[in-house]
């Protein structure tokens, strides 16, 4: 049996196929919500920096992993390739999926003339979250330096009428 993993850019037809993978990671996620998230990443826009949604597929075409990537200008690092929303299922053989992700990211960075790669690890960033815990050692072995300097504040949903635009905000 061919065990080769391939990475390829998502097309629209792959969005629905990938839903079981992302919903396994994010219980409660609806297909509609996933589609609304994914669609902009598979719709190329002229004049914008490269970005997209990349899939890791096995020989049978099943999607075993995915990640969002883009090119941006970072004040410290210069032109960087950033990756986020990395989905690698927690199953035996996951290191091989990670290896395919890392290989693909390296190639994307080279193709786009990037000087560095910024990766947002999977997981909730909560202490002890297993998703990040098992990805970290693998990335370290691949030359990544882990920087735990990100912070997250979850905000309560506000009714539309209560949302104040920056221009309306004044401080006396």
């Amino acid at each position: 049996m061919d065990q080769t993993l391939v990475t390829r850019l998502f097309d629209r037809g792959m969005i629905e196929q990938a839903f079981p993978l992302v919903s396994a990671r994010t219980p409660g996620l609806t297909l509609d919500r996933w589609t609304r998230f994914a669609l902009p990443h598979v719709t190329p826009r002229a004049g914008e920096p490269p970005r997209g949604l990349m899939a890791v597929q096995n020989h049978a075409g099943y999607i075993l992993g995915l990640f969002v990537f883009g090119v941006r200008d970072d004040l410290d690092e210069g032109r960087v390739l950033w990756i986020e929303n990395v989905v690698v299922p927690d199953m035996p053989g996951r290191d091989m999926i990670w290896a395919a992700v890392v290989d693909s990211v390296d190639r994307l960075a080279t193709m786009n003339g990037c000087r560095a790669i910024l990766a947002d690890l999977p997981g909730d960033r909560d202490p002890g979250d297993e998703g990040a815990a098992w990805a970290a050692p693998f990335l370290k072995r691949c030359g990544y330096v882990l920087k735990a300097n990100r912070a997250l504040k979850r905000l309560r949903p506000q009714p539309v009428s209560a949302v104040v635009s920056p221009a309306m905000h004044t401080s006396r």
Partner: protein
């Protein structure tokens, strides 16, 4: 704590009885196929054979995922609970299939035996440790794992098909193809699940599933041998239906 079925019985071989691996019918096409005798021995050392009666749970979604499983006989349905409390069957698994996909140490799906089912049960952490030493097994597992994921992706593609007839026919062909991969005949196709399970899986009503099966029978495309077996009388015509022709 893992909520295994109380009905799941371990079946350690008694003295004089053959070891389950020696009489395993799926050995040639399951995860352990590429292993040599010594490697197989190490895998068996962490494995426990279990038997789950029909309609009993194997594990439940969100329960702590301490184990992964390899189906060696019988049939399994996997499903997810929807936010509104309904359940959606996302796939059917058969001998040779591997299951136990997790998220944050919890099972991502629930699994229930459709028929009396035998499985090899492996402690997840011990298996992962063993995989570091047995790259052949890791590669093999990646090639076949996770069947829950593959089955659910098959379902998504299947639900994308427009008509009820295309969905039912696609399922029959999928089951047929799976049987061929297990070294069985392409037809007749075994249906260990009931019509309600099929309807749930296909996003149809039970009445629609029964009506479509009757239509296919009337047109001579299939023969309903009994509730649990369908002969594919005209496979080529069925394949054309499945692809929307």
């Amino acid at each position: 704590m893992a909520r295994f079925s109380v009905a799941a019985q371990t079946s350690r071989p008694a003295a004089g009885k053959p070891h389950p691996c020696d009489v395993c019918e799926v050995r040639d096409y399951s995860a352990c196929a590429p292993l040599d005798a010594e490697e197989q021995k190490r895998l068996v050392a962490i494995m426990t054979p279990i038997e789950v009666p029909a309609h009993k749970p194997i594990f439940e979604e969100s329960a702590t995922a301490d184990h992964v499983f390899n189906v060696t006989s019988g049939a399994v349905k996997i499903f997810k609970l929807l936010p509104d409390g309904r359940r959606q069957i996302t796939g059917f698994l058969f001998p040779g299939d591997f299951l136990g996909l997790t998220h944050n140490d919890s099972y991502a799906y629930s699994a229930e035996a459709l028929t009396a089912t035998k499985l090899c049960r492996f402690p997840r952490r011990k298996l992962e440790a063993l995989l570091q030493e047995l790259p052949k097994l890791e590669q093999r597992l990646l090639g076949i794992a996770s069947h829950e994921l593959a089955a659910a992706q098959d379902q998504m593609m299947l639900l994308g098909r427009k008509s009820a007839r295309e969905r039912v026919v696609s399922l029959l062909l999928m089951l047929s193809n799976a049987a061929v991969r297990r070294g069985q005949a392409a037809s007749p196709v075994a249906l260990p699940m009931n019509r309600n399970d099929i309807a749930d899986y296909l996003g149809l009503t039970m009445e629609t599933v029964s009506r479509v099966l009757t239509q296919l029978k009337t047109k001579g495309l299939i023969q309903l041998l009994d509730e649990k077996q369908v002969r594919l009388a005209k496979p080529e015509a069925l394949r054309e239906i499945a692809t929307g022709f």
